[in-house]
């Protein structure tokens, strides 16, 4: 019978009241906030603690575990990094085993916090954290759940669908040069889960906040079943969870991670575990849809930007480790493995418990016009210092194989290839880059990464469905061969440009490359207006650019006599029979006179933001098309707003416009709906008004890859060298791999059939689906984890007292049966426990706009 005994669990949340009836083993409560209380005023912390360790009514996973309650959130949901730092230090001192953080925020560049989380896991604290409630938008992962050493948990409903709110998409730390890691790690119930109510009773709640303690509770229970506790560490626990998780059909890995938590299988794996390294994901099958989306959505071809898969190495052998020699690339000759080139980069030191293994895949020149499937594998050996080895210099090693399978097609024609400029997109964190739609006041930051696989996912899907091949440029403009591409797509760019980039782009366009720019607003008065006091960093935040960096863009396009203005416009209109919404965009200030310019009547949003006045401006130029004059020269299209192709806060999409613009830039076909539009106007010369200047005293240089601080104005840095991949020397094998790679991946030396089942079977979640209308309703007593504990509620009463009572009871029974003739002296009365049931409404979530950590309700 395992119920978490001997495992120390810390709940970092809003506290817990002292005499809550659901908890029998609250070891300690501490307060780290500026409020002088230990009690929970919100119910969030109580609920979370209940899911882990409640012993009655709505039961948790591990009622016997030792609970340590850390109050790090005030009743107003305020929290600071510094409170966390001190509380985390205390958790390390107390040798906490499992720590639940149903908390997260977008700031993965909060170094003191991120370093501290690493420090915790390095001290063997198993961190479980909620992935965030910002779905279904991609690029919304929260920190610390997005860290390699943390178990990041997403939410599903009782029908095994990914919960709409569950954050998803790759991690965005690695942009622009690299590619994100797979997160969440696993998913579990997070919708309508039942847990402890604030004072008593149960309630149901939804959010990844709820999913996280389900995993934390399971982890606690699992840890208590392992005989040799030395084997349990943040890596081995995560390895067991992801190797046992059940994959959900039809959902990609950037939404479900490795799948749904399976406690029984995790138990089997953990109890036959031997220290080893493993990979997440454990194989690379770029043909497998939808699990390996977006990789499976576009085949690879010769000359394309290398496809990067960012694999995480989990090392259960020790907190620190290293890769021995170099990873080896072994193409399978019978399966055309020699048609691809592979380059591998990896963490020099795997610490804490994990590291990355970034695999870049490119098509070899000999397969430039070949079509087919190529396979091979990468072998990696990981070594860690042996801690229980008597020899000095003893090392544990573990070798893992990463199978690779890709689909190759002949290189598509130039016109079908679109290059997405990632390098010039800046985002929060680190700097304050404001949202492109100023109406979205509760979400002021541009924090989703601005990548085709995060918040421009729909646009990417659309372009793929139209037959375009989209690649990502994570390096300066000087680093790509323009003769390969039809169109360079620059959307919502915040970065500055190296002078060399400006020169190169001009030359490229003269030679036939086309350019599409989706700009956004930039108005220094509005920028000053949208500054705000950030509660989390306790300082004023002034944006470093507008929605886009128009002064920088103007430097880039001025050579063609083009410029954007600092006007700020908003409004609905119709263009070529399509309903359009212009959300905080700019206008075109200058355009060559032989170009096509479309103008619309729009509201002056600048005036509205600054003076709360409404004014409609007639004939605002928003769209421009231009054929450069040189022989075989490319075309340029400008549009003043990016919101209609961005997934975040989009109201009406304008993918049709993007199609039309690509028809123009890639195939030189001018859409008649635009060239013969009633809205076509004479191109503006813009000589009447000065062009926008950079905001005085902005701190863009702090976050820019291009600028550096300088006396007076910041100056461009020297142009960095273009990224160079050193391809691994292939060691071909005359081998073939199975066609389905997934089934063949598992942790080494684990034979599930041989592991006896423990008596934790009763903990298998038997959840009752909650229909939308009854989410606040009471459930049958037993809650999310029914079974066993109902008979065990009396365990707190000491055994002796119970035996004593039994003796008394048996005496009365004897008295009653043996001496019936005697008059009864006393009638035993048995009191039945009654369940006081009381209805509680599900707490409505209030969204607070903070850059820091939020309880992910």
């Amino acid at each position: 019978m395992f119920a978490g005994s001997g495992v120390k669990v810390a709940v970092f949340d809003t506290g817990l009241s002292e005499k809550h009836p659901h908890f029998k083993n609250v070891k300690e409560r501490t307060n780290w906030t500026n409020e002088k209380t230990l009690d929970d005023g919100l119910g969030h912390g109580t609920f979370v603690a209940g899911v882990i360790a409640s012993m009655r009514e709505c039961q948790g996973f591990a009622p016997d575990s030792e609970l340590h309650i850390f109050r790090v959130f005030t009743n107003n949901q305020v929290s600071y990094t510094s409170w966390f730092l001190d509380a985390f230090n205390y958790a390390i001192l107390k040798k906490i085993d499992v720590l639940n953080l149903s908390i997260g925020g977008p700031d993965f560049m909060d170094h003191p916090f991120v370093d501290k989380v690493w420090e915790l896991t390095a001290n063997r604290v198993i961190m479980v954290s909620a992935i965030g409630n910002d779905g279904p938008l991609y690029g919304t992962l929260n920190n610390p759940a997005d860290q390699m050493d943390v178990i990041g948990v997403g939410g599903i409903d009782f029908e095994d669908n990914i919960a709409r709110f569950s954050s998803r998409g790759m991690t965005t730390w690695e942009l622009p040069g690299g590619y994100g890691r797979v997160k969440p790690d696993i998913v579990t119930y997070g919708s309508g889960v039942r847990g402890s109510g604030l004072k008593e009773g149960c309630r149901s709640l939804s959010g990844t906040s709820v999913a996280s303690p389900v995993v934390a509770g399971a982890v606690t229970l699992l840890a208590s079943t392992v005989l040799n506790r030395e084997l349990v560490n943040p890596a081995s626990m995560k390895q067991a969870l992801i190797a046992s998780a059940r994959r959900l059909p039809g959902v990609n890995m950037f939404e479900q991670g490795h799948g749904k938590l399976d406690l029984i299988r995790a138990y089997q794996i953990l109890n036959s575990y031997r220290p080893q390294a493993s990979l997440s994901p454990s194989y690379i099958d770029l043909t497998e849809c939808p699990y390996m989306w977006p990789y499976c959505s576009q085949p690879i071809y010769y000359g394309g930007m290398p496809t990067i898969v960012n694999v995480t190495i989990l090392n259960g052998m020790g907190v620190t480790g290293r890769i021995v020699d170099k990873p080896i690339w072994q193409p399978y000759l019978p399966q055309n493995g020699d048609h691809i080139d592979v380059a591998v980069s990896y963490s020099p030191v795997l610490w804490p418990w994990a590291g990355y293994l970034a695999v870049s895949i490119s098509v070899a020149k000999k397969a430039a016009s070949w079509e087919g499937i190529a396979q091979g594998h990468v072998m990696v050996t990981v070594a860690s210092p042996a801690e229980n080895d008597s020899e000095v210099d003893g090392e544990l090693t573990s070798t893992v194989k990463l199978p690779i399978k890709v689909k190759i097609v002949p290189t598509p024609p130039r016109s079908k290839r679109v290059l997405w400029d990632q390098y010039h997109n800046l985002r929060y964190p680190p700097g304050y880059f404001p949202r492109d739609n100023l109406r979205m006041k509760n979400d002021p930051l541009d924090w989703n990464g601005d990548h085709i696989h995060t918040n421009f996912r729909d646009m990417y899907q659309h372009l793929r469905s139209m037959g375009y091949f989209v690649e990502v440029l994570g390096a300066p403009i000087t680093c790509f061969d323009a003769s390969q591409y039809g169109t360079l797509l620059m959307v919502d760019s915040e970065e500055e440009y190296f002078p060399e980039e400006i020169t190169k782009l001009r030359r490229d366009i003269d030679n036939g490359l086309s350019l599409i720019v989706f700009s956004d607003w930039y108005n220094t008065s509005v920028m000053r207006k949208v500054k705000f006091y950030d509660e989390n960093t306790r300082q004023w935040w002034m944006p470093d650019t507008g929605g886009a960096n128009i002064p920088a863009l103007n430097d880039l396009i001025s050579v063609w006599g083009m410029a954007f203005s600092d006007g700020l416009y908003e409004g609905d209109f119709t263009l070529a029979d399509h309903d359009m919404y212009y959300a905080s965009g700019c206008s075109i200030a200058r355009f060559p006179e032989d170009g096509i310019v479309i103008a619309k009547n729009l509201k002056d949003q600048g005036l509205e933001v600054l003076k709360q006045e409404t004014a409609v401006i007639e004939g605002v130029p928003i769209l421009g098309l231009y054929q450069t004059p040189s022989d075989g020269g490319g075309r340029i299209a400008l549009y003043g707003d990016s919101n209609c192709i961005d997934d975040s806060h989009r109201q009406k999409d304008c993918f049709w416009l993007l199609d039309a613009l690509l028809q123009y830039t890639s195939y030189s076909m001018t859409p008649p709906s635009l060239s013969h539009s009633h809205s076509r106007v004479v191109p503006p010369t813009g000589t009447d008004r000065p062009l926008p200047q950079r905001l005085e005293g902005n701190h863009l240089y702090r976050y820019s890859k291009v600028l550096e601080a300088h006396l007076g104005d910041p100056k461009p840095r020297p142009l960095p060298a273009c990224p160079h991949l050193s391809w691994a020397k292939p060691q071909p094998l005359n081998e073939t791999a199975p066609s389905n790679l997934w089934k063949h991946q598992k942790l080494l030396s684990v034979d599930l059939d041989k592991v006896a089942l423990p008596n934790v079977r009763a903990y298998r979640p038997q959840v009752r689906p909650l229909s939308p209308g009854e989410s606040g309703a009471w459930d049958i007593p037993g809650g999310i984890m029914p079974g066993h504990y109902n008979q065990e509620v009396g365990q707190t009463i000491p055994v002796f007292a119970f035996l004593g009572a039994m003796v008394v009871l048996s005496f009365f029974v004897v008295q009653l049966t043996k001496a019936r003739s005697k008059p009864k002296r006393r009638k035993p009365r048995i009191k039945r426990p009654t369940y006081l049931q009381q209805q509680q409404q599900q707490q409505t979530t209030t969204t607070t706009t903070t850059t820091g950590k939020n309880p992910t309700v």
Binding site: T81, L93, Q815
Partner: protein, 200 residues
């Protein structure tokens, strides 16, 4: 059997059994109550009689080593500090979790990377430096006037080694604007003062 039954029938026997059970029940319940109460006072003043057992300097030498099992700093990427103040590379850690004092990398009470203000760039050296016996007055002074936010932490510290492990960690004293270090280089401090504030 008859004797037992007769004994059981005696009301006073039952009374005693019942009474004992009741007393046990009440005491164990109350004990739990008391424990929660004590936890709560953690937030308040430090016990005046809470004393840190300062570790006396060990006579070192291979044979006279008095310790058989070490606690160490666990977390390090490459370095480890044991409770005797030795810093060594992970590979030079013995089975008993102590540094192999004969390994070339092992050094005791080493203040490498530490500045005059008591802040170091490398955690393991901070701990080792803090374990120097002559740092004891400094640490005692700090403990006596530890900031309020640290009450929880430093009340729970048991000895010199635990104190140094805890003191050298980055904390609320290490940051400015919450999300940046006051000094990203020398951020591990055994001394009283926070890291030197560097401009953003």
């Amino acid at each position: 059997m008859m004797v037992l039954r007769r004994l059981l029938r005696k009301r006073w026997v039952l009374g005693v059994v019942f009474g004992l059970s009741l007393i046990y029940f009440l005491t164990s319940t109350l004990k739990q109550e008391e424990r929660t109460m004590r936890d709560r006072t953690l937030l308040e003043v430090r016990d005046s009689d809470h004393r840190i057992p300062w570790k006396v300097r060990f006579n070192l030498g291979n044979s006279s080593r008095q310790i058989t099992q070490c606690r160490n700093s666990i977390q390090g990427k490459t370095l480890i500090t044991d409770e005797l103040g030795y810093v060594c590379e992970r590979k030079d850690l013995l089975v008993n979790s102590c540094c192999n004092v004969n390994a070339p990398s092992s050094r005791q009470y080493i203040c490498k990377s530490c500045l005059a203000n008591g802040c170091c760039s490398i955690y393991e050296y901070c701990v080792s430096c803090c374990l120097q016996p002559d740092k004891q007055p400094l640490l005692e002074h700090f403990l006596n006037r530890a900031a309020e936010g640290f009450q929880n932490l430093f009340t729970a510290v048991e000895d010199h080694f635990e104190l140094c492990l805890a003191k050298c960690r980055t904390s609320s004293q290490s940051v400015q604007h919450e999300n940046t270090y006051r000094n990203p280089q020398a951020k591990y401090c055994y001394g009283e003062s926070p890291p030197e504030l560097l401009p953003v």
